[in-house]
Each structure stands twice: as C-alpha cells, then as structure tokens.
Amino acid sequence: MSKHHHSQEKWFEQPTYYDEIRFKGYSRRDFMKFASMMAAFIGLETSAIGQVAKAMETKPRLPVIWLHFQECTCCSESFIRSSHPIVADILLDKISLDYSETLMAASGTQAEAALKNTLEKYKGQYILCIEGSVPVGADGVYCMIGGKTSMQILEEVSEHAAAVIAWGSCASNGCVQSAKPNPTKATPIHKLVKGKPVIKVPGCPPIGEVMAGVIVHYLTFGTIPELDRLGRPKAFYSKRVHDTCYRRPFYDAGLFVESFDDENAKKGYCLYKVGCKGPTTYNACGVMKWNEGTSYPIQSGHPCIGCSEENYWDNGRLYERASSFAGFGIESDADTLGKYALGATGVALAGHAILTNLNKRKDINTLTAEGEAGDVDVIE
C-alpha cells in the first residue's frame, strides 16, 4: 500500500462537511449515522467510525480534476447514481469538482482556464480522476481535446496530482476499445502514468457507491485506500462475485439454469452453465448491489459478464460456461483467493456438482432432481 501525504493549508479556510451538514439542519446524530454508514461502505471496523466522523468534521473540500478520454461516460453516470452519499452532497460539500466535461458549466477556453487554475493553485493537492483509456496508436489522433492528444493532457495533468484514480474498466484495463484487434491501441492509465499511485476502480461502470467510497476514503484519511496487488481497493475488490453470490448454494448443490427460459431459471438456480463469470470476477456486486441495493445482474437472472476483469471482452463468449475459456483462473490472481479458484474450478469442476456436493443438495430438500449437472453446454 502506498501512502501519499499532501499539504492541506491551502484549502484550510473552506467550510468542512460537518459545518455544511449542520448548516443543512442535520443533527450530530444524523451526522454520526452518516459517518458510520460511510465507514461500513469503505470497509472499516467500527472503531474507525470516530475517525471518519472527525475527518468529515474538519476536512475542507478536496479539489478534483476529472478527465475524459476514450469512454462512454458510464462512469460519470454511475457516480451520479451514488446514494451514500448522494452526489449533490458530494459535489457541494465534499469535493470541488473543478473540471468535468460532463457536468461543468464552462466550455472551451473557459473550461481550460478552470483546469489551469486548479493545476496551479492546488499543485500537488488535487486528485486526478480519469475516465477512459488513452489511444497511443496513430500518434494519438484518436482522442484529442482542445487540439491536444489525450496522452499530452494526461502528462500535463498527472504530473502534480496527489493521486490518480482510474475510473472504470476503460482507465483500468482498456475495456471494450482494447478488445482485439484494439484498432486505436487503447491503453489503460497505469501503463502511462509513472511514479505515483494509480488506484484502479474497474467495472463497466463501477458501482456508484464504490466510486463515492474511494473518494470518501481519501477525504477521511488523506491517503489512498489499501490496494490489492493489481492496484484495486481491497475493500471492494477482494472477493469474487461468486463468493458473495446468493445463488452459491445452488452452485454447490449442482443445480443450474440450463437455458434462460427453463424452470430452473424461474427457481433462481446458479447461472454458471449459461456463462456466469462470477467465479473469476472480483467485484462488490453481490455485497453492495447496484442502484442503492436494488438488484445486481445475477439477481436479475443474467450471468455476470465479468466487466471488472482485465481482458473480459476477449475471454471467451458471454454465454459459454467459464471452464471452457482460455486463461480461466489466470486473471483471478488477486492475492491468495485466485490460486484457490484456479484449483477449484479448473480441476474439480466437472465432477464438482455431481460428486462433491450431493450432501449439500440434500439440504435443499425441496429441490431435488432438477438441474442435474450434465456435461452438455447450453450454448454450442
């Protein structure tokens, strides 16, 4: 984990969250409730709630520059879907989003001047958020802003950033545009920015509350959150979707959806055989869910497509079961779990459902012979 300290004098004078929250008519109790929720979201022990609360009482608004390169703006959209905290509060009370092509009022020269102003005034203090990959092919002409290539802009703006956040799969791993044959040579940010921490927050898009959580962590501690060895915040990316999936008992019992319109789909059985990539995907979908906990892909009957994993667009077909795709397990190497996953899925899978877990199947006593784990792929 890299720590990145920075001086805060410059934005000392600004009102703190606590001022703002009190000002908005919330009580100290409301404030503490909010602080504990946020602490839970960023994966802290209860003992740290006090620290979150204290930080929010005393920290001024953090200058943030948010650049867009090759992307579809789904990350910005996901960010404004955050419910804890809601984005109006983030924008007005917690950060100073000084440059964002999606939300800022100014365009053209005025937008560029706002960027320049923050670069100078908050040198070494601003957080740089990047949405999108950088096309390094054809001398960078496939993404230009203000007549400059995205590479040139990235160099200029990252130089004095306190930390860099790579939002979404585009910035973290190149996402769809880097899929074969990667015609524009789309390149993720960590391959281009050297000598400073790059926090990868993959997903297409990442969950809104995850994005808010990463920012709140930085605000609270003045350091970036603890990262796994791939550079992702451990709090949100240390578990496979499969490990937190509520359909997991069906997987363990060998009860599978064979086709999207079969009875097993209605019963909510495991989606592994219709292509679920949950066993190789590290993300918080099963825990935090999407859109204020409303649902997540598996809950709505669709397999996980693995959108937060590197190279997921080229890792086999979406509706083909995972054991048959190349490289299965190799990308799931986040610390120790991945090695376990490789062993469990790569080796034992064929026999897994039939032999190992017949006992578990008995536990689900209303569900008997259905979903017998055959070896026939649903999609050939």
Partner: protein, 384 residues
C-alpha cells in the same frame, strides 16, 4: 473572413466535440463541428458471437445507456428471425420508457440548464417571490419560501468559499442569460432535485437488467424470469416497485420538468429560430406492441419529415438500399468504392483514415472539408 473562435471541449455532452465558428460583426457567419474521439467498436465486433454483440455495442454510450444494446439484440433477432415473448417485449418497452424519462430530465437540467440558468444570479432572488412563482407554475410540494432560501443560502456559501467546482468559470452574468433571479433560483433548486431524482427512476433498469448504467439484455428475450408468486425473479413485490418508480417519475416530469421547460422557454422564444439543422427529420419509431417487424404496431410511429413541413409524414423503409445510406465524405473514413458514394448500413465499411492536422493544432482545415472521427455522429444519414 472575420475572427475564428474555437470551442473545444464542448462540455455537458457525451463524447468529445469541437466547434469552430467564424465571427463577423459580432455574429456567427459559419460554424464547423468535429467529433474528436473514436474507438472503432464496429471493427472490434467483427467475428464475435452475435449474441454477445449487445454488450459491446451498449458501450457506445453510457448516458443514453441501454439504447444501443436494445438495438443490437433487435438486429440479431431480425437476422435470425426470432420472435421474442410478449413479456420480454413489455419489459424492454418499460426499460426504454425509463431511459426516455431519465434522459430527457438529465439532458434538460444537468446537460443543458446551465446555458439558460444563471446560477450566481439565483442568489439575488427573493425567496418569497420565488415561492409564489413556483406555486403558480405547479403543485410540486417543495416550493415554500424557506425551501428556496435554504437552497440560496447553501449555494451562497458554496460560491463564497471560492471553490466553485462545476460552476467554475461559468458565463455567469453574461447578457445572454435572460431569466429573472427567481426563475434562476427555481432552475437551480430543480437541478439539485433532479440530481437526486435521476438515480431513482433508473432502479427500474436494475430490477429488469441488473444494473444501471449498462443494464443487461439478451438475444431472444430478457434474462429476468417473471412470476407474481416466485421467490426469485420479477415477482409482485418487484413489479409494485416498478409501478411506484414510474408513478413518482411521472410526477416529477409533470410537476417539475415540464413546468420548468415552459417557464424557461418563454424567456428564450427567439432561440426557437436558431438551429434545427436542414429541416429534414427521420425517426425510426419505437415501442413495438407486436414485434419489431410490425412497424404499424409501434406506439412511437416511424417516418420522415422534410423541409420542416410537419403536415406530411413520409413512410420509411429502413431496409431499402436507397432510403437509408451512410456517407463518409465529411468523416475521417474511407470507402473502398470511393468516398462520394453512400452505402446502406448493411453494406457499411468502417475503415478509418485520419487526414486532419497533426496535434497539437490550433485550427482544423475547414477550407477543404470539416471532418469528424465519430461514426454515429459523423456519418451523414440522408433519407431518399
């Protein structure tokens, strides 16, 4: 030629857009637009499983999220002669209507409003007068003088902090802003309310498609199973939630968005004469009730309007070679059979050929041609 101004980035849009305009005697004489980012998803799609295409295609845009995916699954179903179940059609229509509602509100408030609403001027409003005005426009309950003075105080403090965030360097105080302070304050208050509102309505996408942005689609239907009494899937509780979200969404549109639209537009009537393109409009139609092949069953009909003459709507056959064509003359692409020809999208080619200036550059070469990198915006799509 007078003075050339460049506006790049154009903000509050999806993607990267550049405008260059020639100014003469304080007026725009000519203007050129150029899309300056490309990913070539068309090339990446080649050779893929058609059932997977919706996921790739959906990533064209995360603001109008879901539309490209929907179009993609329909295309594959059309090619394979698949008819989807009635429930899947209804679910897709509900999801599409959800986007329709979400996208209009977000475009109006978060993408466009700052062109009309002067945020800083809103601080001069009289909250009492604002409240009276708001109540004369609509029954929306959040309209008390206290509500507006709270918003004003919050934004006042924000502006006084000197860290203007997304409002930094805006055009505040420019004479092109025409709203009185009270209308500016209503616009600003509803900008913030709409920011909260928009995250609610899209929960419908999460219910049926698992998440938003980028909900999941499926060739052949939808993946969510439906049964009122089912424990899993779309059951009575989930449908009740969809009903509530749609009802609340509609209330906001009827009581906030439309009254604001009318109120703000009444101050910018002269803007009605600006733009409008060439006056020819093409709509593909949507919300099928008997499958996508039966265009007569669409709740939003298809058709073309020529020369702004709305008295006549022409039929459109999207499958006819001579009715829909893509031209690349003004794009950084090339066609194997010559760049002057148009091609029906089914015969489309996506070979990129950048001939613009080498970055960093000051101006595009607009004398020969203005070009654009982006396919969907950059390709001309004439009809007949």
């Amino acid at each position: 030629m007078g003075k050339r101004i460049v506006v790049d980035p154009i903000t509050r849009i999806e993607g990267h857009l550049r405008i260059e305009a020639d100014i003469e005697n304080g007026k725009i004489k000519d203007a050129y637009s150029s899309g300056t980012m490309v990913r070539l998803i068309e090339e990446i799609l080649k050779g893929r499983d058609p059932r997977d295409a919706w996921a790739y295609v959906g990533r064209v845009c995360g603001v109008c999220t879901s539309t490209h995916s929907l179009t993609s699954v329909r295309t594959v179903e059309d090619a394979l002669d698949i008819t989807i179940p009635a429930n899947a059609e209804l679910v897709r229509n509900i999801m599409h209507c959800t986007l329709y509602m979400h996208d209009h509100v977000v475009h109006f408030y978060h993408l466009h409003a700052m062109d009309w609403v002067d945020v800083v001027n809103a601080l001069k409003a009289d909250p009492k007068k604002t409240s009276e005005l708001a109540q004369s426009l609509s029954h929306w309950p959040k309209s008390s003088p206290g509500y507006f003075s709270d918003i004003q105080a919050r934004i006042g403090k924000f502006v006084a902090s000197g860290q203007l965030g997304i409002f930094s360097n805006g055009y505040w105080g420019h004479p092109a802003y025409k709203l009185p302070p009270e209308v500016n304050l209503i616009g600003l208050a509803h900008y913030l309310e709409a920011l909260e509102w928009q995250k609610e309505i899209v929960k419908i996408h999460a219910i049926f498609g698992g998440k938003n942005p980028h909900p999941n689609y499926l060739v052949g239907g939808m993946a969510c199973s439906i049964g009122l009494d089912d424990v899993s899937g779309i059951n009575a509780e989930r449908l009740a939630m969809v009903d509530r979200l749609l009802t609340e969404g509609k209330q906001f549109i009827e009581q906030v968005y439309i009254p604001d639209l009318m109120a703000i537009a009444s101050f910018y009537k002269d803007w009605g004469a600006i733009g409008g393109g060439l006056g020819n409009y093409l709509v593909y139609g949507d919300l099928p009730t008997k499958g996508i092949r039966d265009t007569a069953s669409f709740k939003f009909p298809s058709g073309a309007i020529l020369g702004k003459d709305i008295s006549k709507v022409y039929d459109v056959d999207l499958k006819k070679d001579d009715e829909v064509q893509e031209f690349i003359k003004h794009s950084w692409y090339e066609y194997s059979g010559g760049d002057d020809k148009g091609l029906h999208p089914w015969k489309g080619e996506s070979k990129i050929n950048y001939t613009g200036p080498k970055p960093p550059f000051e101006h595009l070469d607009v004398k020969t041609n203005i070009h654009t990198l982006k396919h969907q915006g950059g390709m001309a799509m004439p009809w007949k």
